[in-house]
């Protein structure tokens, strides 16, 4: 299995475009990171102190071309600069401590929703028109259209604030030290329940809908009829013959939806004070922390491109017809 040169070329161009845009965008916005930094000092900073700090950090008066060279050099060495908001932490430090939580959240939500959505979709298609289908399919449409912020706030209010079953913030109990032990893992699990449930309805709805329609067309294929004729059990025909082949459009959909999942995770993390990239991006935007915003946009571009690339490869595994042609 290999990926064609043309396909790789597309990825390269997309990446180059993202890198250049990432350089240009913050420079089109009013103000500089140094302004933001100085503004954070508040009224207690004396004018002399402000001038000294500007002089210290304000190396922004060089020609744009030189700035671009510096920026590229930084990228090559994974040096994305220093955060304004979390100074003196570097952008790489800030992003690496947040990334792990967002990945955990998004991956857990996707795995959970994929399992639930695909099964629901397969059963709906298998029994289309039945009672299960008439309840689940319209429900899926509703689930797609409810924005995560509504789901998040409702969940938070019900299970967090009113019933107090689940913790309302953080990624794990702040009294614990991170480590590979049962207590810590349990705390992480409990703290992830509400955020994952918030991200899931949209995904489950999408997966159910895509799976259902894809499965319906697969079920009309000759090999499914043959499977039935061979006297195989419902379950093996449904999943072995039908669902496996109906998965392809679901995976395509997943790749397309990654952006939306990250978008949803931003809202979710803000609602649940979950220390991932979303909360970091939100805080950075409010503080005008351009270096962090820039680093994060780049990271998200890379993640989306990477995920698409990965789906291309997975395609090859699942669909034998594409094994040599991708």
């Amino acid at each position: 299995m290999r990926v064609s040169g043309r396909r790789l070329g597309v990825y390269a161009v997309a990446l180059a475009f993202a890198i250049v845009m990432n350089f240009i965008l913050p420079r089109l916005m009013p103000g500089t990171p140094v302004d933001a930094m100085v503004a954070q000092l508040g009224p207690r900073a004396t004018p002399a102190a402000v001038e000294a700090i500007k002089a210290r950090f304000g190396a922004v008066d060089q020609p744009v071309l030189l700035q671009f060279v510096d920026y590229m050099k930084g990228l090559a060495t994974f040096d994305l600069g220093v955060s304004v908001k979390y100074y003196p932490q570097t952008v790489v430090q800030v992003l690496s401590r947040s990334t792990i939580w967002t990945i955990f959240l998004v991956v857990t939500a996707i795995i959970f929703s994929l399992s639930v959505g695909v099964v629901l979709g397969a059963i709906s298609a298998w029994r289309r028109g039945g009672r299960f289908d008439t309840i689940i399919s319209p429900l899926a449409v509703v689930m797609i259209s409810v924005p995560p912020v509504i789901v998040g706030l409702t969940t938070l209010f019900m299970f967090g604030v009113s019933l107090r079953w689940l913790p309302v913030g953080y990624a794990y109990d702040p009294n614990l030290d991170p480590g590979l032990n049962f207590t810590f893992a349990g705390s992480v699990f409990i703290h992830a329940i509400m955020p994952v449930l918030t991200l899931s309805p949209f995904l489950i709805g999408e997966f159910q809908t895509t799976m259902r329609s894809s499965m319906i067309s697969v079920l009309g294929e000759d090999y499914v009829t043959m499977g039935r004729a061979k006297g195989l059990s419902h379950l093996s025909v449904m999943f072995g013959y039908g669902a496996r082949n109906a998965m392809l459009p679901v995976l395509t959909n997943l790749a397309l939806m990654l952006g939306a999942v990250f978008g949803g995770s931003i809202v979710t993390e803000i609602v649940f004070n979950y220390p991932g990239l979303g909360l970091t991006l939100y805080t950075a935007s409010i503080a005008r922390d351009y270096p962090v915003i820039q680093g994060q946009l780049l990271l998200m571009t890379l993640a989306t491109l990477g995920a698409n690339f990965l789906v291309d490869i997975i395609y090859g595994f699942i669909d034998p017809r594409l094994r040599d042609a991708v």
Partner: protein, 564 residues
């Protein structure tokens, strides 16, 4: 909020099994509280989405707000609630020289750093010299006021001043004295994170630090250990008001400094026996016009006392407080703008008929403008007596919703009086920049007070500060007022200070350079479940706010005792 209690109850009845499971799980994965012998005080003093271990007292933007006072003790604190009287800490007294050109502090003998080394005058001298040499570290403005520092004996520090300044001790109250034996080896004090601080305050030991919570515990060598009954401060990360509201029902917070909407319902009702608050009025918020505006029409209007009076009469202060401010601020009805916390400094002569323009009366405002020659054009808006258009935006930072609403109310009043005003909400940095570079027209702003009302007036209305700091955007300049400020700085006795400040109040009320509207609240809430000794409205002896701008919070901490 849609769910009433019966709904919640029926939901929980049906889901009893789930509740039980969740509870069991929570208890199994157990959150072990700190050992019972220790008294741990949980507090909320700043909002951040993640803690960064930075206890560098010179880093105003990045330091944790528990750095000052709790790690670095001030020389002396002035209690605004007690007429600005000194509370001696690392110093036991100070004395100006006869010509007022130098001041000598007597340091407390036997004070130690948290590593056991003695704290001497050499440390104070070292700290001030460090700031003089490196302007980026100058958080208290010694570069402008101090000529040189000497340490004649281990307990004596003599500071030579550049000019006579009786306000100097108050400005030095923000000084964090750092240990010379540690800081002399720091190569870059601006970027230094000071992760394991050696300090002189009550809580110097950073026992635990994670992005979500940190604990700052008892200084083993604290000189005033006998007064200290709290063993550790526990500071959970809280990202904002919403997060705070969600956390409050857990009942784990002891000392809070937060904006809590509908506080009686959302906080006090949760535990009426223990939860309390006291939010006395703080700094004066006022509208300031740019007396160096480049717009000829606007400038002509701002410089006219009649216009400023009419502006003030168009302010619906009560709505600003009740609607925009959730009833937390207090209307300021005095042309002098004196904050209520300085009641003892009030000059009756600066009130009464001087406050005639502090009500809300757009008809009277219109009449003043008519009489002064501000004619209405075909669009319903007035021009200046010389016929130039008046048209200005009032700037307020984006996202400061209560302030934006207040400015919106101001604009409605102004437009009713025929003045073409509008609201603009730039980002905070842009707002700040416009104030400092003078490109704004009108702004609503608060000014920082000190232990006495002097500092607030001096740093917002003197020519020396005009346009230099965010507290003085109006660029007002009045030689008579400057002369009074100068007299005040040279005066040494409390009586003289009071007398001169009476004249300052009177002059400000008469010339009306800014339009006071209200006094913002102090943010202070507490729970007496685990600790007692909280300051309340019945015992208003000090400012109880736990934020970094209030040095008295140190004395408040020392009042607290664990419940037996």
């Amino acid at each position: 909020m849609g769910l009433d209690k019966s709904v919640i109850r029926s939901v929980s009845a049906r889901a009893a099994w789930a509740a039980a499971t969740a509870l069991t799980v929570v208890m199994t994965f157990g959150i072990s509280a700190a050992s019972a012998a220790e008294s741990v005080l949980t507090m909320h003093i700043e909002e951040q989405s993640s803690w960064v271990q930075n206890f560098n007292p010179f880093d105003l933007a990045g330091r944790r707000q528990s750095t000052m006072d709790f790690i670095y003790e001030p020389l002396v604190i002035f209690n605004a609630q007690d007429g600005g009287k000194p509370v001696w800490r690392l110093a036991t007294s100070y004395k100006f020289s006869d010509d007022m050109m130098s001041i000598t502090y007597e340091l407390r003998p036997g004070a130690k750093w948290s590593d056991g080394q003695p704290l001497t005058s050499a440390d104070v001298k070292y700290t001030i010299d460090l700031m003089l040499k490196n302007a980026a570290l100058d958080t208290v403005g010694v570069g402008e006021t101090v000529a040189s520092v000497e340490a004649p004996s281990p307990t004596e520090v003599t500071i030579k001043l550049k000019a006579v300044n009786s306000d100097f001790p108050e400005s030095l109250a923000d000084l964090a004295v750092v240990p010379q034996h540690v800081w002399k080896d720091v190569s870059d004090p601006v970027a230094f994170k000071n992760e394991k601080p050696i300090g002189s305050g009550p809580m110097t030991e950073v026992r635990r630090f994670t992005p979500q919570v940190y604990e700052q515990c008892r200084n083993p060598d604290y000189w005033d250990a006998a007064s200290l009954h709290v063993d550790c401060l526990r500071l959970p990360q809280i990202s904002g008001n919403d997060q705070m509201l969600a956390i409050l029902p857990e009942g784990n917070m002891d000392w809070i400094g937060s904006f809590i909407p509908e506080i009686d319902k959302t906080f006090v009702a949760l535990d009426a026996d223990h939860n309390g608050y006291w939010q006395p009025p703080a700094e004066t918020v006022a509208f300031q016009m740019n007396f160096k505006s480049k717009d000829e029409g606007n400038l002509e209007a701002y410089k006219d006392l009649n216009f400023r009076h009419a502006f003030s009469l168009a302010m619906d202060r009560k709505s600003m407080v009740d609607i925009a401010g959730f009833g937390y601020p207090v209307v300021n009805e005095h042309a002098s703008g004196l904050p209520p916390r300085f009641e003892g400094w009030r000059n009756k002569a600066a009130e009464g008929d001087k406050d005639a323009f502090m009500g809300f009366d757009t008809e009277k405002a219109s009449k003043i403008l008519d009489d002064a020659g501000y004619k209405k054009g075909s669009d319903g808006f007035r021009t200046t007596p010389s016929g130039k258009p008046i048209n200005f935006p009032i700037i307020v930072p984006n996202g400061w919703t209560d302030w934006i609403d207040a400015v919106q109310i101001a604009v409605e009043g102004l437009r009713a009086a025929g003045i073409n005003a509008s609201v603009t909400t730039p980002e905070y940095e842009q707002w700040r920049k416009q104030i400092l570079d003078g490109s704004f027209e009108v702004v609503m702003n608060s000014r920082a007070d000190g232990a006495t009302p002097f500092r607030g007036y001096y740093q917002s209305l003197s020519t020396a500060y005009a346009g230099r700091v965010t507290g003085a955007p109006s660029r007002y300049s009045n030689p008579k007022l400057d002369a009074l400020f100068d007299q005040y700085l040279k005066a040494t006795s409390d009586d003289d200070h009071k007398k001169i400040f009476n004249d300052i109040q009177l002059l400000v009320a008469e010339d009306f350079p800014v339009v006071p509207v209200f006094n913002g609240p102090t943010w202070y809430q507490f729970s007496s479940k685990r600790f007692t000794g909280w300051v309340t409205d019945k015992d208003p002896v000090m400012n109880p706010e736990d934020h970094d701008n209030n040095r008295m919070r140190l004395m408040h901490l020392l009042r607290l005792k664990p419940v037996q």
